[in-house]
């Protein structure tokens, strides 16, 4: 009997210990990421001298992901307008589709879709690249040369993401709305002229700046979480894989959560 009680005690201790360890790691990681963001903003004064690296990163994270962005935006827009259009057509309200498309893309889907694509495309690459450098002692080598890894590696990546994510968001919005136009023309009987006229009338400045603000915040979230995971990687290839996986999952979750709060802040009550 005593043996069974002791085993239960040991199991309960193990569960609490494991949960506690995970919570402590999360607190440590969150603190590390916030300090990393703060340090990156301090290093922004060197952004001009690091312009070559920033441009290179813009190409890697932005230009190279354009093809994927194009397909997702175009077909995303087509699916959205097809679903809503077919239902609205039953009530003779298919004219609302252009207004719906520009509103949804501008307020939410443009920045959200782009953030999801860049998390998978660039965030994962950042975590893997910096994680590999960490486990192969390259980060230590930089520190030994008195080169600040935040200035040399992190700042150019965060800045490039802050430029490319809003830019690609605009591109995604334009293509998504265009996808909606194609479906509206071929399936819903709207003319291109009518579609664009209604879209133009429904573009609101607030929607645009909230959408761009979201993109900017998402860019900081994705790049800082990815870089932080890379910098905290350990235990060789296994650790790099773990850092990459966690960076993608954490970025997705944070994009959703922070996205909700920004929307709530500008369009509704805070909660």
């Amino acid at each position: 009997m005593k043996e069974i009680v002791r085993n239960y005690q040991s199991d309960i201790y193990g569960i609490f210990s494991s949960v506690g360890e995970r919570m402590l790691y999360q607190v440590k990681f969150s603190g590390f990421t916030l300090i990393l963001i703060f340090n990156t903003f301090l290093q922004l004064r060197y952004a001009f001298s690091k312009r070559r690296e920033i441009i290179k990163q813009m190409y890697v994270s932005g230009v190279k992901s354009m093809m994927v962005c194009s397909i997702v935006a175009l077909f995303g827009g087509m699916i959205l307008s097809l679903h809503s259009g077919v239902e609205l057509k039953k009530w003779g309200q298919q004219d609302v589709v252009p207004i719906l498309m520009i509103n949804v893309m501008n307020k939410e889907m443009g920045s959200f879709l782009t953030a999801i694509i860049l998390t998978a495309f660039s965030g994962a690459a950042m975590a893997a690249e910096i994680g590999t450098m960490k486990v192969s002692e390259e980060i230590d080598a930089l520190e030994m040369m008195s080169i600040n890894p935040v200035k040399y590696l992190v700042m150019p990546r965060i800045v490039s993401m802050m430029i490319m994510l809003p830019t690609l968001s605009i591109y995604t919005i334009v293509l998504g709305v265009f996808g909606g136009a194609v479906v509206s023309y071929f399936q819903l009987g709207l003319t291109f002229e009518d579609y664009y006229h209604r879209v133009y009338e429904s573009i609101w400045l607030k929607d645009m700046y909230v959408g761009l603000l979201k993109s900017l915040v998402f860019a900081v979230i994705i790049s800082s979480i990815s870089c932080a995971n890379g910098l905290m990687a350990q235990n060789g290839a296994l650790g790099v894989g773990r850092a990459t996986r966690i960076s993608v999952v954490s970025s997705y979750l944070m994009v959703l959560i922070i996205g909700y709060f920004i929307t709530s802040l500008f369009y509704g009550g805070f909660m």
Partner: protein, 247 residues
Amino acid sequence: MIEVRNISKRFGKVVVLDNVSLTIENGETFVIIGQSGAGKTTILRHIAGFFDPDQGDVLIDGMKMNGAGSGKKRMLREKMGFLFQSGALINWLNVKENVALPLVEHKLGTKDEIDKIVDEKLSLLQLDDAAEKMPSDISGGMKKRVGLARAIVRNPEIILYDEPTSGLDPVMSARIDELILRMQRELGVTSVVVTHDMDSAYRIADRIAMLYQGRIIECGTPEQIRESINPYVRQFVEGKLTGPIEV
């Protein structure tokens, strides 16, 4: 001068260093030997300021490395070069760019001046032909030489070597040893070398210390180590399977 005073370090429940003290004189080549996992690299990382000891101090020319702020650490590290086990070359820079990196990042000269210094170091390490090659295109031995060229490009007073000959063939090992001796002869640097390659240790060392289970169990000249009566030292240097060291 490097002074390691009574440092202890524990990772979780494992005691890696237990009250270790060392004094390394200027211009000396000091070799630390011991089994894998004995704590050799941990000592080197304490000297470089990557770890702070749980207790004790590490002093570089009388200045405390442990607990130093980033500015002071940077200043102390400017006196040092570090040859990492894998070379730790930045993989998207070619050999020449890797060697030039500290000079370029700290703007220590014009482009021509930096080129001249880099060419000089590459020539010293017989790497002239590899200047434009990428790290992925060169051998392990070459990577170590490039790492060494980068470590000495700012003419440091101290060079820390982490397993400089591991994974190299005997000829390449002898060549790396010769380079370490040359650094001492021609540049007068203080060297701290971590290795478990006894041939290499005997070739390059002024003094050798053996680390066992986090403690220094013997320290002396190569001759003294070779003739040591300590059974742990004897087993290690002779590479015997039987003895007090648990394998």
